[in-house]
Symmetry: C2
Subunit: 437 residues, 2 copies
Amino acid sequence: MPEYQSLSTQELLDLERQLQKEYAAWQAKGLQLDMSRGKPSTEQLDLSMGMMDIFSSQHPMKTDSGVDIRNYGQLEGIWEARELFSKVIGVAPEEMIVCGNSSLIVMYDTVARAMLHGVPGGRKPWGRYEKIKFLCPVPGYDRHFSICEYFDIDMIPIPMKSDGPDMDLIEALVSKDETIKGIWCVPKYSNPQGITYSDAVVRRFANLKPAAPDFRIFWDNAYVIHHLYDDQQDHLLDLFTELKKNGKESMLYMFASTSKISFAGAGVSFLASSLENMVAITKQLSVQTIGPDKINQLRHVLYFQNVENIYEHMRKHAAILRPKFQVVQETLERELGDAGIGRWNNPRGGYFICFEALEGCAKRIVSLCKEAGVVMTSAGATHPYGRDPQDSVIRIAPSFPPVEELRQAAELFSLCVKLASVEKLLAQRAAEEKTPA
Amino acid sequence: MPEYQSLSTQELLDLERQLQKEYAAWQAKGLQLDMSRGKPSTEQLDLSMGMMDIFSSQHPMKTDSGVDIRNYGQLEGIWEARELFSKVIGVAPEEMIVCGNSSLIVMYDTVARAMLHGVPGGRKPWGRYEKIKFLCPVPGYDRHFSICEYFDIDMIPIPMKSDGPDMDLIEALVSKDETIKGIWCVPKYSNPQGITYSDAVVRRFANLKPAAPDFRIFWDNAYVIHHLYDDQQDHLLDLFTELKKNGKESMLYMFASTSKISFAGAGVSFLASSLENMVAITKQLSVQTIGPDKINQLRHVLYFQNVENIYEHMRKHAAILRPKFQVVQETLERELGDAGIGRWNNPRGGYFICFEALEGCAKRIVSLCKEAGVVMTSAGATHPYGRDPQDSVIRIAPSFPPVEELRQAAELFSLCVKLASVEKLLAQRAAEEKTPA
């Protein structure tokens, strides 16, 4: 396939007609496919069904330390769960609390508490400022941005580079603006680009000198052990350890969960931070809740038993996910490889492929897909306020549909990319012709 | 036993010496008992263990409507749970959402959302007022008061009468102060007095004409079906229905949970309100969470199946709780019946006995109990800011300890009441002697 840019206007017009015909044929198929959200597939959820055999009516419902897991209490989660899962994210059990079934709500709550009561080291609650700001590496995770919008926190987009966010920009911004209170990061297999921050980037995070004494890094380690391959895995330098070297560990809130390890809607979630932060958080938790569901926590502990079993379990997830990523990547490569009308990543982990279309084409592509029965994540969702200034980024989520459906969806997606790109190039040519040389 | 008031000073001094001797003997026993919190006992938790047999690795994990309960989604809870539990609290399934394991967090969140974003009908978020206020019937539930303190909401104590809070005072206050935004109520088997609001009180709630268009009744129906007796049960008039007659149903947020039906730490909780309020709440929930733990919700639905089974289940709880309440009540009656140094209620449901000591004695009694190994709820906890102006109310929570321990604890408690009362009377006599007639 030739580069689309090199085609003559007539060739583009012929191509457009051809693509429209193909598109009409796809529309006639009446597909109903969904590549919009990073949901585990049924097959993946089946991997953890052994967990449903852990308890029976005859099972003793106590932890080793004698806590009745059915009753109230244990705001920080049961010790056994803190011990097991702290190893997954590389902190001490004391530095981590195990919460309910959603890390999103833990992140939301962490921001909410900071807005209402501030965080250690701060002069006042964040909500008492006229305006505070968060840095948002883009493209990024729409749910992070929604939390900022909900709390009326201004978002400053930070461009992502191949090894993490633009640290020059971050350093310059945080060092001079006391109202910049936080940054959202998905540091490993980032959502949506699948980028893992380089050691150099992590070290620059550890050496940040924010003007705000209560600046916080919201480190959403959602894909901490979510590799796609056994032999090619990204390694993320441990920011907590690096921060400790500088005595700055209170700058970090780290989040993770088993949503994509056990059950998406019924896993357990984690918040890790310095002991100083933990004291403040636990005190506030005592107002909020009677403690997390400890039955589900012990169910997880007894099912997985140790980290080695968790890693082994993740290999099974990878075996299911790998062919899904591959069929999308192969289709994109075959259909769009030489056309010069889009770029995408081939990540080594995580849940997404990030597609970058020609400028101004993303919305049109997503809309064409939708009209032919394939739901994509909304164009713009990867950016604060849903505004992608280039209108070029599309997040592809291949985890949920079966491989055969994905193949169809990826083919249709590729066709929509071609059609939108031809439309765009033709519109450009028309505009150029109107403009006198 | 004679009335303590009628004893001569010398008789009181003799009695004091005698009681001190008895107290020393109790101290020597080295008891370690806890009557401080309304926790279900192990035996009660065992009642629901059949729930642990509901799922196995072979069980289909879908609802009738095809929702995979392991995956993300269903912010309002699964339909089947809304259907079943809405019958328990007497609303339509659409008027109720089923949440996670703690109704406390649902109450906290409801206040938090109102502070940040306001509620339908309001002019601005509650947090944008210089100061807002809540009415707090006293004695009441300490966790309600903690939420107000956390959000810096001023609390106005409202005296409880024998059939509910002082409605004259409530009507007078809410009708003229736009900054009074809410009231906390435990309308059935109230915490700690075990009072159920009379029909007249409920109707006056339904006819409130608050100055604040965004005034809300926080109706914590924690003990909605938590009767102690089969033949003597309180009946609470349905406030939601009464409000609907006046088109004011949005004034109500109703809360409940299965914490004291299934598992205290691993049940499901409920929020019921008008459809108008529900729309606003669901919209905000979509920022907060990926949905509640639906596995636990379906586990509850499949275990209980219908409301009749739930009522039958509650009879089993009552059979365990009844002798515990009785041993405390009998002991109090025997030890303190004629002494005129305390009053208490004999509730027909709920989790507490409320003891009213002579003015100025509650702290001393709780402290004497503690020093002899029996932990009571802190004196003052039943009042906003932990301040009981009369220092007389003590909440007794008989649910957790076994009957034999309770007997001991109640005996020691009675002794501490006597001792503190004698001390108090002697101090009064001494003060009177110093004051010239």
